[in-house]
Amino acid sequence: MTTTVSAPATPQTAAPAPGVRRKRLVVLGVAAWIVGMVLVPWVVQSDLWMGIGIFALIAAIGALGLQVIMGFTGQISMGHAAFMAIGAYTSAWLGVEKEQPFWIWLPAAAIVSGVAGAIFAPAAVRIRGLYLAVATLGLVFIGAYVWETWTTLSGGDGGRVAAPVVINGQDLLNGYWSGDTQVLTLFQAWWYFALAVLLVVTVLAWNIKRSRLGRAMMAVRDKDLAAGVVGIPVTRTKVVAFGISSAFAGVSGALLTAYMGYFTPSQWGLMLSVDMIAMVVIGGLGTISGAILGAFFFKVMPELINWLAQYLPFISQDAKVDGGVTAPLLSQFLYGLVIVLVLIFEPRGLSQLCRRPFTRLRAGRQEETR
């Protein structure tokens, strides 16, 4: 059991208390981040990088979901891909077969996935240890089988059309037009749409973290035996956490396929679940910024390696049947390596690494005001 020893409070000076200052800095930081995000489509001209950014925004939504069950509640889930798939197929069916607008199918994706998670969870979370990890492993394989076999829903190996995002009668995949002029390219339009959803999800996640539920989750993470003794309903907390996590996954899956326009059952395998776990671990388990940072890192890195491949002779850009270092494989190797390195050296992930210069700044300023 860990006991935290809090550092003595810094002596009061003319400057405001450190807690208030910290809050101000956080608010400032978040505001700056939002402004930056809004400006991105006007700064970034490359379609390639905009595309990557949109994928990153969408992945960040899923990563936030995984953060709820893994970072807050401390349970390993290998099944995230299955719930992303549920969200995707729900949205596709409602959006295409039933021709519903996105403000119907997007929440529906969340609800159906969330409920599915809440139904599945009790079986696995009653037992301590790795049983959730193992059970969700089974879930993702069973899910993959279901998508492949339920061909009327999934279109079989050939895949199917995804739900369109239609705003004011316009499918965002064509950009946003006012009459005959294009106001936003498809990338810009989708960037803002995905960003909007991400912001909503982020606010939700932030509120959950600070709520009683969030504290219960973290108590379960830190020592579930002790949490139970203090009166926290451990099983119920885990089930709720898993439901929330699945709901976010559903939103992410729905958006992902809506952006891609077309999707196949083979996307929702174990590899996707592992990718999502990588995002959360690399970004930093337990923090909101960690999930988002991890998602961006994960989507940006392969492209960076790809770009580097031009200059490094031993990396080829084409896949080979007989082996050879290709950019995608190298980037896969690297993200595995980064997972291990992060866990060994900085378990709080990239988000902590990014904070270090700021904490040093803050510490320096506190020294000055004494």
């Binding site: 089974g138 579930d224 174990l270 080979k320 007989d322 082996g323 378990p347």
Partner: protein, 293 residues
């Protein structure tokens, strides 16, 4: 009836392969308090290295070479990862093994590519006929070799002092430390044994009618339902669970191919696993201590 016997026999053979992989999981879990998600990749490495060495030397030498490489890889991971992370909790260690599995998977693809290769087994595609029943030589070789390995393992655990020390460590780690047993060395030993088992499993997993391909690692993951069904901390359970999973897959492939899209048999072990988790989470032979929150 002949179909049932043929499929049953092959099911037992595949089951023995899963049993060896499952044993590796259980030995690592009991011997070092960890769960190694990269174990499936070790099976793949074992098979690939044997295949790579086979054309250049007698089979038994290729096998030993692969054991050397795979065990070294496992020990490397254990020494760098496990020792550093064991103090940070099981979750951290398991996530790290996930990272390792990604790395090894990418490595295998970089070295050998995405295509399927040949067979890494010691015997070819020949068959033997007993009455009406046709049995593949590879299945016979699998079963015989696995049984020999199991006997060797039993002798090791029951009759050697290292085996005793390993069992003591699994039974009560601190008491083992207090008796002067080098627990760190026991961790390494458990990983080494698991890796050796992985190589044996690998060559038979890549034996007729299957071949070496990158998907071996995923196929090997079917050993996880085996350990849940058998009981995650039981060696006997790993063997029984493995055989059950093998039978389900082969008999399922034979009899259920008309239902559920033709791949139902691949998924059935996981369905059974979920059922076991709900009804009897400690499996057939596991200890009950692992239960409820």
């Amino acid at each position: 009836m002949t179909l049932f016997l043929q499929l049953g026999f092959q099911g037992v053979a595949l089951g023995m392969v899963y049993a060896l992989i499952a044993l590796g999981f259980v030995i690592m879990t009991k011997g070092s308090n960890t769960f190694n998600f990269a174990h499936g990749e070790f099976v793949a490495v074992g098979a690939y290295v044997v295949l790579a060495l086979m054309p250049h030397m007698p089979y038994w030498l290729a096998f030993l070479g692969s054991v050397f490489v795979t065990v070294s890889l496992a020990l490397l991971v254990e020494a760098t990862l496990l020792r550093k992370l064991i103090s940070k909790g099981l979750t951290t260690v398991v996530l790290a093994t996930l990272g390792v599995s990604v790395m090894v998977h990418a490595l295998v693809l970089m070295v050998w590519g995405v295509g399927t290769k040949g067979s890494a087994g010691p015997v070819g595609s020949g068959t033997v006929e007993i009455g009406d029943v046709v049995l593949p030589l590879s299945s016979i070789a699998t079963i015989v070799s696995s049984v020999l390995v199991l006997i060797a393992l039993l002798v090791f655990f029951r009759r050697t002092s290292y085996g005793l020390a390993l069992r003591a460590t699994a039974s009560h780690q601190e008491a083992a430390l207090a008796q002067g047993i080098d627990v760190g060395r026991m961790f390494a030993l458990s990983w080494a044994i698991a890796a050796a088992l992985a190589v044996v499993a690998g060559i038979f997993l890549a034996s007729f009618p299957r071949v070496v391909s990158p998907s071996i690692a995923v196929v090997a993951l079917a050993a996880i339902p085996a350990i849940v069904i058998g009981g995650m901390d039981s060696l006997a359970g790993a063997v029984v669970g493995g055989v059950i999973v093998g039978l389900i897959q082969v008999l399922g492939a034979g009899y259920l191919s008309d239902y559920g899209g033709g791949r139902l048999h691949e998924v059935l072990p996981y369905v059974l696993m979920l059922l076991v988790l709900v009804v009897r989470p400690y499996g057939l032979f596991g200890s009950r201590g692992i239960e409820r929150v």
